[in-house]
């Protein structure tokens, strides 16, 4: 498993995936830094209080994080979806699996290697962007590790789903399905929130079902919660408007949800192993 994980990271590095990700992350951080800097300057020129600066920067960070989750989702989907499928299509997997290598070890090795790549990307870009925004604005979220931790977990969830699809579907099909499912999960979360705000339990259940089937949106709420200043959480609280807003979270994801996410990952990995074992090469 470790051999395959190392091979996977080596592949990402040699095929320049890692370096492209690092390059794009640096460009994104540079843009964030410049944008936040200009915005803070404009607000201060207008004589607004530092609290206002804090609020605007926190909202801007949430918005940037939202866009970054899409980039991360795409990265995870398109790294995961060819991981097994393209090896099987090309014949590379047959040469490896004729060796004393269990199919489960091969799949878990691919998963571990890709997890390290996407987590590294999520943590690196996320922490760097927050640190840069903090440097130019003076605002840093209450916790650094909470929002980027949820970002990384979101990436792992999506990559794992892509890996499952990769045991059966062609890379392009798996990647496309993954992105669509990610979008649907986000939409079901928004619809569920609106249902909760309006007190419509049937509509609210859509969000809950979405969170169970694909935990990415639930984890996104963790990112939002981690980026918000305490004062915003206290002000908006549990109001209907706050509940209906996908860019606001009054509380972090529950322990039960986090436990489910771990179980979800284990189940999807087991299913992927089962699919690969059953596959005739």
């Amino acid at each position: 498993m470790i051999t395959i994980a190392r091979l996977t990271i080596g592949e990402a590095s040699r095929r320049r995936v890692l370096w492209v990700l690092v390059g794009l992350a640096l460009v994104a951080v540079a843009l964030v830094t410049w944008g936040v800097d200009r915005l803070v300057e404009l607000i201060r020129e207008q004589g607004e209080a530092e609290l206002q600066v804090k609020l605007v920067v926190s909202q801007l960070l949430i918005f940037i994080a939202f866009m970054f989750t899409f980039v991360l989702a795409m990265t995870a989907a398109f790294l995961g979806s060819p991981a097994i499928a393209s090896d099987l299509e090309s014949g590379i997997a047959q040469a490896l699996l004729a060796r004393p290598l269990r199919r489960s070890s091969y799949l878990l090795g691919r998963w571990l290697g890709l997890s390290i790549v996407v987590v590294g990307y999520a943590l690196g870009s996320g922490l760097l962007a927050i640190a840069a925004a903090g440097w130019v604005s003076g605002y840093t979220p209450p916790s650094l590790i909470v929002p980027v931790g949820y970002l990384a977990m979101q990436a792992i969830v999506l990559m794992t789903f892509a890996l499952l699809l990769s045991t059966r579907l062609a890379p392009i099909a798996g990647g496309a399905i993954c992105v669509v499912v990610y979008g649907l999960a986000w939409m079901s979360g928004v619809i569920g929130d609106i249902g909760t705000a309006l007190g419509a339990s049937g509509v609210a259940a859509i969000g809950d079902i979405g969170h169970i089937l694909m935990p990415t949106d639930g984890l996104w709420r963790g990112v939002v919660y981690g980026l918000e200043p305490n004062i915003v959480i206290a002000a908006v609280g549990d109001s209907p408007a706050g509940r209906a807003n996908p860019f606001f979270a009054s509380e972090p994801p529950s322990q039960a949800f986090l436990a489910w996410t771990i179980v979800w990952l284990a189940l999807v990995l087991l299913l992927a192993i089962r699919q690969l074992r059953r596959r005739e090469l």
Binding site: G10, R14, I92, A95, L96, A98, P100, R102, E280, L281
Partner: protein
Amino acid sequence: MAQPPPDAPAIEVTELRKQYGRIEALAGLSMTVNRGEVFGFLGPNGAGKTTTVKLLLGLARPTGGSGKVLGAPLGDLATRRNVGYLPELFRYQPWLRAREVLTLHGELIGMKRARRRPAAAEVLELVGLADRSEDFVGKFSKGMQQRLGLGVALMGEPALVILDEPTSALDPIGRVDVRAIIRSARERGAAVFLNSHLLSEVEQVCDRVAVVDHGRVIASGSLDNVLGESETQVLVAGIAATDLPAFETFGAATLDGDRLSIRPMDAERVPELVNLIVSMGGRIREVRSGRSSLEQRFVELVSRDRSMAGTPTTDVEQPS
């Protein structure tokens, strides 16, 4: 590295079956490959050759029958340390250097770290890629990739080497090299299972062959056994099809235009046959006597098998 039981045959399969939906890829295939021999596995397209290889390696599961590789059941994980494999569709990580592909496979078969690089260097030398050791596989031609695949199959000096069409991408020089490599593997005691369409290649390196069609072995044995039928061909005028019964004492006679063929026929009786033809008024232009080529024999076996619509042939010689 785990050592296989030294007395077990390299491959032993009995009534092996494989069904893909409604298609029967293997219909009760039985054969034995001994240690230290080069075994040719022949058959037309779709006969079940690659399916057999995949079952032997555990890449696919049989739907019936049983088999052992180096004394262990099919698909046994530990045994694969001792089995080298060159797939028909060979492809290796294009982002790795040739040496790295080999050390990766060394690692996968449990070779000690210190041994991997020297072993890779030895194998690269053997397959003629020593000077391309640090080049990326993605830059290799198909022929070079096949040489590399052969190197992968030979890493760790496995007791069984399974080669699926090992010279399909090679030029004539490469083919000669491969024959030498196969012979050297046999010399160190390895069994080589050679799946090939190139009958001349099989003829040159194999100790025994099996001919497979419709998913079962239709003939097998030593090369001499399979090729053994000696044939006499006479280019002759003045002989008609009605004269053929006169030649039955020599063997089964057929007449195709002016070519009279008698098979099997003992070459010692050629003067006797010539006398008979002359006495019948035939005018002989040429007489040839010898074994039929493997290609002829192969076509004959497969045609006979197909004409019998899937029933077992009477001349099936079960492997020992």
